[in-house]
């Protein structure tokens, strides 16, 4: 059985690399990645599970990292926006669709869209897309542009076949 008390070094599999961090068991994954590893794409917003700015992909599913302990993430595969590399299809689609204004929500939305495309490689029904996107809030109300970006991701994929 794993038992952690006080500060402990744990290994996390992040963006294809194993990284070591020194954490208290009550430290949140979001804070640890931002403060110890400089992975600042995931943003603190509400820190309450509501806004989605802190979303990462864990084992293929979107996850609000403000509601995850860093110690829990051991033995799981974590992907942050930095892991997409900057020129991923979802990122290009957001640029082309002007799917952001201030950009604070963007990394969270990108991770949701990335996971959506992985879990639903073929364009899902409208209500599925809506359900996934509703997990995140954009204070600048770029919702329509974000939705257009998702459609672009699928259209480009289709045109490559």
């Amino acid at each position: 059985m794993v038992r952690y008390e006080g500060k402990t070094v744990v290994s996390l599999n992040i963006n294809g690399e194993v990284r070591q961090v020194m954490v208290r068991p009550s430290d949140l994954l979001l804070d640890v990645l931002r403060e110890q590893l400089g992975l600042t794409a995931a943003k603190p917003g509400c820190k309450n599970g509501d806004c989605g700015a802190c979303t990462m992909v864990i084992d293929g599913w979107p996850t609000k990292s403000c509601l995850v302990l860093a110690v829990e993430a051991e033995n799981h595969v974590i992907l942050t926006l930095e892991g997409l590399g900057g020129r991923a299809a979802v990122q290009q689609a957001f640029v082309d669709a002007n799917a952001f204004q201030c950009g604070y929500c963007t990394s969270g939305f990108l991770m949701v869209c990335h996971a959506l495309k992985k879990q639903h490689p073929v364009l899902p029904e409208e209500h599925v897309m809506e359900e996934w996107l509703q997990s995140n809030i954009c204070r600048c109300t770029s919702y329509q542009e974000i939705r257009n970006a998702v459609k672009i991701i699928y259209e480009r994929d289709q045109s490559r076949i």
Partner: protein, 279 residues
């Protein structure tokens, strides 16, 4: 951040979980079982709870199971709402899970956590209250299998140190005629004003409700009225809405009388759709 320390344990067996509970208890740590963690983290951060130890159940194979046999569907307590939805094995529960929080949170919130949590809505209890579901519990006294409604009285009544291991739904209920509706004040994703699950067994309607009172409930009295076809739909929905077991909540979602009014209309629509063959 969470402004205090706790001990984190991740057992791989039920025995280890119980040993961890006993050990932390003997150290005066006031431990809690930890599943999706969304409520525990939120309450710790807000300073509303201060456990000295958390015992993560997500690595225990029996708690992760999701299996169907000829008698029942067996769902491990740490299965997430999203896993239950994706499995498509019990549509009424799928519908209830699909309206709790948002999709990303559904990938994290567990069935056991929703049932055992302190947030009053516990919307996954509704399908279980009307489907003759059972629970397997594990604790200091060993393992016991018990009818869901014997332990869930609006909230879970577990023994100290006891945990929910699995939830079992009999196979007849998986295919039974059903209905689900959740009404919120404004936004689609919100706590319920009224959340209602309905299931028919031998042509008799059963309902369970959340959001309206301080905890979810099922009422025999209400069901007797709703099933009395000698009365008109107007009378049945009005009389049933007058039979709330507790006074309706008057909170941010609406006044008590407004909530009762919404409930009455919800019942009316349910009866109408049922009698017009739409359900």
């Amino acid at each position: 951040m969470i402004p205090f320390d706790f001990i984190y344990c991740r057992p791989s067996t039920l025995k280890e979980a119980l040993d961890a509970y006993r050990q932390l208890q003997s150290e005066g740590k006031n431990p809690v079982y930890y599943a999706g963690g969304s409520e525990i983290i939120t309450l710790c951060r807000a300073g509303e709870i201060r456990p000295g130890g958390v015992i993560d159940l997500k690595n225990i194979p029996e708690c992760k199971a999701l299996a169907l046999d000829e008698r029942a569907l067996h769902i491990g307590s740490v299965c997430t709402l999203n896993q239950i939805k994706e499995s498509k094995l019990f549509n009424l529960l799928r519908l209830a899970c699909g309206r709790i929080a948002d999709h990303t949170n559904q990938c994290r919130i567990t069935l056991g956590g929703n049932l055992c949590g302190s947030i009053i809505y516990r919307e996954t209890s509704l399908p279980l209250l009307i489907s003759e579901a059972e629970l397997t519990l594990f604790g200091p006294e060993g393992e016991r299998r018990i009818a869901f409604d014997k332990v869930f009285k609006g909230r879970m009544e577990l023994q100290p140190g006891e945990l929910v291991l699995q939830i079992h739904i009999p196979s007849w209920a998986l295919k039974a005629r059903h209905y689900h509706v959740k009404k919120t004040q404004n936004e689609k994703i919100d706590y319920p004003l009224v959340s209602l699950a309905a299931l028919w067994k031998e042509n008799r309607l059963r309902i369970a409700v959340s959001g309206l009172c301080s905890h979810p409930f099922r009422s025999d009295q209400m069901e007797a009225v709703l099933n009395n076809r000698a009365l008109s739909r107007d009378v049945r929905s009005k009389e049933a809405a007058a039979m709330l077991p507790l006074s309706p909540l008057s909170d941010r979602a609406g006044s008590g009388e407004y909530c009762r009014f919404v409930f009455q209309n919800t019942l009316h629509t349910l009866l109408e759709e049922m009698e017009n063959g739409k359900i």
